[in-house]
């Protein structure tokens, strides 16, 4: 490559990145900006949005106890789901990386875990209904085995089912980054720790866990943003009994109250971004993802 080619290529680079930039601009940057804009509009019944700037939407939302209750509910779910997916994700990744001896088997098992990710979330979610329902698989099994006499009705359409559904859908997002981080750990570090007298648990606590920090942070980022931003799981699986921030937005949209929905959406976005920023302080995202 000559210097002349270097000049040409630097101009060509902009052409190469243009499609991505354009799509992101029109279908991400502008929409988000407009959501923020609309959140300051006024809403008139039967008329729709009126482009008059007002902060009534925010004031109304932030002073309403319902909003706070919904957000609290969302945070509650997120924390519980995060904890469970972390424990599950960490140990499954640990099993795959450190206990499975054959590399090909490990990759095969890893793929087995990921395959459900490629199928429809909605389907996976509603397939819990016949399993958790009053006449479903688990209840029938429990009754047949004589463990309970009446079907447990808290299995479905409850907070429990919401958590189960979230864990089912999102644990994979923990497994993948943690698996990635763990696989990059130099095995001789573990042997050195054992040589120095660490027990197996000590090795996990002192070596594996710190070195998987990046993967855990990325996994947490995914799980948090997906859980907080979800609304169909919460509406379908809880039967409307549990709330979340998104169900508030959903309701406003049903009534075509775009400004209020937009304001709520912005609040949600801010919360999500704050969490993301906190996690970004732990992980240098660009270095990690670009490798």
């Amino acid at each position: 490559m000559t210097s002349g080619d270097v000049q040409k290529s630097s101009r060509f680079v902009y052409l190469q990145v243009a499609p991505l930039a354009l799509v992101l601009f029109f279908f991400f940057a502008i929409p988000v900006a407009l959501v923020v804009l609309v959140s300051f509009f006024r809403y008139q019944m039967l008329v729709g949005m009126v482009p008059q700037f007002t902060s009534k939407n925010y004031v109304g939302l932030l002073s309403s106890p319902t909003t706070w209750a919904l957000y609290l509910s969302t945070v509650k779910f997120t924390v519980i789901v995060l904890a469970i997916t972390f424990v599950l994700g960490f140990w499954i990744a640990y099993f795959l990386v450190f206990h499975v001896r054959n590399l090909l088997t490990a990759i095969g098992l890893f793929l087995v875990c990921t395959v459900p990710f490629w199928t429809s979330n909605i389907i996976r979610m509603i397939s819990w209904r016949p399993v958790l329902g009053k006449e479903g698989l688990i209840n029938s099994g429990l009754i047949k085995a004589g463990i309970v006499s009446h079907p447990l009705d808290w299995l479905l359409f409850s907070d429990f089912s919401v958590v189960v559904a979230y864990v089912h859908l999102f644990t994979l997002f923990m497994i993948v980054p943690i698996f990635n981080s763990m696989a990059r750990i130099d095995k001789s570090l573990l042997e050195a720790a054992t040589d120095a007298g660490a027990t197996r648990w000590g090795v996990v606590w002192n070596v594996v866990l710190p070195l998987s920090k990046t993967g855990i942070a990325l996994g947490a980022l995914f799980v948090v943003t997906l859980t907080m931003g979800d609304f169909f799981v919460v509406t379908v699986i809880s039967g409307g009994l549990s709330g979340s921030a998104t169900s508030g937005i959903f309701n406003d949209l049903q009534f075509l109250n775009y400004p209020r929905a937009a304001a709520n959406a912005v609040i949600l976005l801010v919360v999500v971004l704050l969490v993301a920023a906190a996690i970004f302080r732990v992980v240098d995202v660009r270095k990690e993802l670009v490798r």
């Binding site: 490559m1 000559t2 210097s3 002349g4 080619d5 270097v6």
Partner: protein, 389 residues
């Protein structure tokens, strides 16, 4: 890529001339105003530690790196600005860079494919080339199925099919194990003789360089310290750096005592006196001067009793350690102000064994003194990390 970029078969000379060649990466100068002429048909080794700029020079000759300033002439043409294929050079990469998605045959035929040679013809010619490197049987294999040595020969075939006038090799033997390395050394040397083209070979291993090259260029942080035949570089290093890098030399420093007539005399530390066989140096009295003596030209004898007057070309010290190396034994002597190493033939050593703690006198003949052009700035090299294997 137009056809004009492809050069016809190499009838032209493969002489390489580097003129004030410089390469900077930001604030770092990797190559600093290098001037070098490599004659046509020579086997030239660029030798030096990592970071000295030798690979950068190779890549600039190849055209994979653009000089910051300076000129490169191959044959009579100035090639800076020309794409690699138009220079008549071919490069063998350290990792071989065989295309993993192509068979061995298609790898070798790649150049011809880029020239739009028809499928049958280019396969035919690739097969002939594979015959020459004796890998014809593997033509339908994929690179991942080949051993390191086989991969290297495929890379060689792939380069040679371009009919280059210069072959550039980037540490070609570093990835091979010891036995394979030594065998490939012989093959490279005979190949170069057979082809008659210029080889430029980058390495950090001294035995490799002096075994293969008829022109050795020793480099240190972007500059050339010394260039010459392997014999000259080894026996008459010009600077302390080259002496230490090539290994097998002791570097000593003294101050000039008398230069008028008679042999050159130097006053060294602890009352040592040095006398050279020649008197070519025109330095005033009192100036510091360094010289090198080959370690295998040192005689050792145990010293008896106190401080007898020292004869010229003798130093006294205490043995720090001995190391058995098969046909010779290394003896490390502490001079009280530096370490000194002698290689004694095993027969001589075991006839009169010397042990750690013995007081010894090391001596050599004046003819073995090799005056260096720079004054030694101190042991940049650790005598314990000897270069010669």
């Amino acid at each position: 890529m137009n056809r004009q970029s492809f050069r016809p078969a190499s009838q032209e000379t493969g002489e390489i001339r580097l003129v004030n060649l410089t390469k900077t990466f930001g604030a770092t100068t990797a190559v600093d105003k290098i001037n070098l002429t490599i004659p046509h048909g020579s086997y030239c080794c660029l030798l030096g530690p990592s970071g000295c700029g030798k690979t950068t020079i190779l890549r600039m000759i190849a055209g994979h790196e653009t000089p910051t300033s300076g000129e490169i002439y191959i044959g009579k043409e100035m090639v800076v600005g020309k794409p690699p294929v138009a220079r008549g050079t071919a490069m063998m990469f350290q990792s071989y860079a065989l295309f993993p998605h192509l068979t061995v045959l298609d790898n070798v035929a790649f150049y011809l494919k880029m020239r739009n040679v028809g499928k049958d013809e280019r396969r035919q010619r690739a097969q002939e080339m594979l015959h020459r490197v004796q890998l014809h049987a593997l033509k339908d294999r994929v690179p991942a199925q080949l051993s390191g040595g086989q991969q290297q020969r495929v890379a060689l075939a792939r380069s040679l099919i371009t009919n280059p006038r210069v072959l550039l090799l980037d540490e070609p033997l570093s990835a091979l194990d010891e036995f394979l390395r030594l065998r490939m050394r012989g093959e490279l040397k005979s190949l170069q003789r057979e082809l008659g083209i210029t080889f430029v070979h980058v390495t950090h291993t001294q035995p490799e360089a002096i075994a293969l090259a008829n022109m050795v260029v020793v480099m240190d942080t972007g500059r050339i310290d010394q260039e010459g035949s392997a014999n000259i570089i080894f026996n008459r290093p010009k600077t302390p750096y080259v002496a230490r890098f090539m290994g097998g030399q002791n570097v000593l420093t003294g101050t000039v005592v008398r230069t008028a007539d008679g042999p050159l005399r130097l006053q060294g530390a602890n009352g040592a006196q040095f006398e050279a066989a020649t008197n070519e140096v025109a330095l005033p009295e009192g100036s510091p001067l360094s010289f090198a003596v080959r370690r295998d030209r040192i005689k050792l004898r145990k010293s008896v009793g106190g401080k007898a007057a020292t004869a010229p070309n003798e130093v006294r010290g205490v043995v720090e350690a001995t190391e058995y190396q098969g046909s010779y034994v290394k003896v490390f002597v502490d001079l009280g102000g530096g370490v000194f190493v002698a290689y004694l033939a095993d027969g001589d050593f075991f006839a009169n064994p010397i042990e750690k703690g013995d007081a010894v006198v090391a001596s050599w003949s004046p003819a073995d003194i090799n005056i260096l052009t720079n004054v030694d700035k101190g042991a940049a090299g650790d005598p314990y990390s000897d270069a010669m294997h």
